[in-house]
């Protein structure tokens, strides 16, 4: 049963207009949107879009995004669903999100396994859920409904957390896989988040990756991080991807096989040419990992 469903998830990596999501992509940011839209075709396999930046609005940005359709495959990655909050997601937001997903022909939609609101208060940050059995059931039930609500398969991303809210009933791995198994959602595996959490909470990142059901992975994220004087590592998306994260990406791909990989950069965004070079670096890691994956299968 699970195998059949997982095949369904992966087959949907082809969008409704026939774009295949694969290779190495880049998070689309306003800093370089114009350059991407007006410039020559870049060696970037797809772009990931934060739908909240384009939905429920008119003007320049949605028009530019419209111009990008057809040139590159797009995939949507939300920020404010707050799937783990007690309050049900805002139905108006979900309706608008569904329209935006359809408009971009995204083959699936993802958001974060977290909460970002408290009742009516919107906190605009990804906050950690208590790793409890109760939350597994509650969040999974909601995640299971998302594919129907949004009109495309739904995936959850593992977040960075600096604090576990209270005593953890389950390890992060069991919590994450529990939600995914019970909801049949895909996994957007953020390798940088695994690395950051492994440093901050003292576990083996490679073992964590190896223990995941990697068949669930529909996309992989990588990004840069920084370290505070206290030693705490912050998921800043404000620096190039660090070598240990590249190594972890390689380890992941050699186990998972081909999956779309995405570079995220949200702060201190450099020139587009520099990001293109970093995408190429990731592609080199990707290609080498695929050789190892294929060799292991032979």
């Amino acid at each position: 049963m699970r195998r059949r469903h997982l095949r369904l998830i992966m087959s949907n990596v082809v969008s409704s207009i026939g774009h295949t999501l694969g290779g190495v992509g880049l998070g689309l940011r306003w800093d370089f949107l114009e350059e991407v839209v007006d410039g020559p075709t870049l060696p970037i396999d797809f772009f990931e879009v934060s739908p909240e930046n384009y939905m429920r609005r008119g003007g320049y940005y949605p028009e530019q995004l419209e111009r990008l359709l057809g040139r590159y495959p797009l995939v949507t990655h939300g920020l404010t669903l707050s799937i783990g909050a007690i309050a049900e997601p805002d139905p108006q937001y979900l309706r608008e999100l569904r329209l935006e997903i359809a408009r971009t022909h995204s083959p699936f939609h993802s958001d974060h396994l977290c909460f970002s609101s408290a009742g009516q208060r919107s906190l605009h940050e990804l906050l950690p859920l208590q790793q409890s059995r109760e939350n597994v059931g509650r969040v999974a039930e909601r995640a299971r409904r998302m594919s129907d609500v949004l009109g495309v398969p739904f995936a959850l991303e593992n977040i960075t957390y600096y604090v576990h809210p209270g005593r953890a009933e389950l390890p992060e791995l069991d919590f994450l896989m529990g939600v995914l198994d019970a909801s049949d959602a895909g996994l957007l595996l953020d390798v940088n988040n695994v690395y950051v959490n492994s440093v901050n909470h003292g576990f083996d990142a490679r073992a964590f990756i190896a223990a995941l059901d990697l068949r669930r992975v529909v996309e992989i994220h990588v990004a840069g991080h920084s370290r505070k004087a206290s030693g705490l590592v912050l998921d800043t998306h404000g620096a190039p991807v660090a070598d240990p994260v590249l190594e972890l990406l390689s380890h992941t791909l050699s186990l998972s096989g081909p999956r779309p990989v995405l570079l995220e950069r949200d702060n201190d965004v450099p020139e587009l040419s520099e990001l293109v070079r970093e995408v190429q670096k990731l592609r080199d890691v990707y290609d080498a990992s695929m050789l190892r994956f294929d060799a292991a299968r032979d």
């Binding site: 934060s50 909240e52 930046n53 429920r56 609005r57 008119g58 003007g59 320049y60 940005y61 028009e63 920020l79 404010t80 783990g84 909050a85 007690i86 805002d90 108006q92 937001y93 608008e96 909460f115 609101s117 408290a118 009742g119 009516q120 208060r121 919107s122 906190l123 605009h124 940050e125 906050l127 859920l129 208590q130 409890s132 109760e134 939350n135 509650r138 600096y162 604090v163 576990h164 809210p165 209270g166 005593r167 206290s230 705490l232 912050l234």
Partner: protein
């Protein structure tokens, strides 16, 4: 349990300065058990990271939207920022909504605070209109231009706001360090998005403002001019008609006038608060 955790986190990041006592008080207030409260207390330093992240994101969005107002308010802005977070908090999914949310909260308070200059709320509103108008929904592009007629309404761009100020805040320098006071005079301003997506500002005469106001409410062109003239105590003279024609030609050139519309069409929003197709859906950010 999740409800309690949400409330503790929200009060922690949005409320008064952090302390261990305050954290313990929040856990007790929101029904967090002793074990979980102890675990949170052990993570006190890391919990403050979330406070920095949340407040930093919101502060950054406001700084982007109303930098001159923040600079002129100085430390007073932080006082109201703290009050907004603690007493109201953002509600929208969209970060771009945080500024109007803060202004809706702080506006009435600023009016009663002698430390806040009388023009400040208008300046902040004026600054925030740039992002607001740049993001207003567009009308479909299938419009076919046609001559206007007095019997029909006028289709105006959806991406506009008609505002009135008591101070000429729109004339102030864009320099954040500038502290020049705005002149005190009534201003009617049409803030609109051009077809090239640039936010532009057009100061209107009283008569022009009334005409646009009536057109936004769905009056026919003839009715709008007639009512505007009456409201201004003017006869429907050649001069008034010529002025109206000049206004409409100017607005058409700016892409604000799209052509004729049936007067039964839905009306639009003006700053005075009538509901209509121009009103942004509520709630909140990015």
């Amino acid at each position: 349990m999740q409800q309690g955790i949400e409330d503790v986190f929200a009060d922690w990041v949005l409320g008064p300065a952090p302390s261990r006592d305050r954290l313990a008080g929040l856990c007790e207030k929101h029904g967090i058990g002793a074990d979980d409260a102890a675990a949170l207390s052990e993570s006190f330093e890391r919990l403050t990271v979330y406070r920095e992240l949340v407040r930093g994101n919101l502060r950054e969005a406001l700084q982007l939207a109303i930098p001159r107002s923040i600079a002129r308010l100085g430390p007073l802005f932080d006082e109201y920022f703290d009050r907004f977070l603690a007493e109201q908090a953002p509600r929208s999914h969209y970060l771009r909504d945080v500024t109007p949310e803060l202004l809706a909260f702080a506006g009435p308070l600023w009016q009663d605070d002698a430390r806040v200059p009388a023009y400040l709320h208008e300046l902040a509103r004026h600054e925030s209109l740039h992002i607001e108008v740049s993001a207003l929904p567009s009308l479909p592009r299938d419009h076919v231009p046609a001559p206007l007629s007095l019997e029909q309404g006028v289709e105006l761009s959806a991406a506009l706001r008609l505002v009135q100020y008591r101070h000429a805040v729109h004339e102030l320098s864009a320099d954040e360090a500038d502290r020049t006071l705005p002149s005190e005079r009534a201003v009617s301003l049409l803030v609109y998005r051009s077809p090239a997506h640039e936010v532009r500002y057009l100061e209107l005469t009283k008569l022009a403002r009334r005409i646009v106001e009536r057109l936004l409410l769905g009056d026919s062109l003839g009715g709008a001019v007639r009512q505007a003239a009456t409201a201004e105590g003017s006869a429907l003279s050649e001069a008034v008609l010529a002025g109206a024609a000049k206004l409409l030609a100017d607005l058409a050139e700016r892409g604000v006038v799209r052509g004729p519309r049936h007067i039964a069409d839905e009306s639009r929003t003006t700053e005075s608060g009538q509901s209509g197709t121009n009103a942004p859906a509520k709630r909140p950010p990015s």
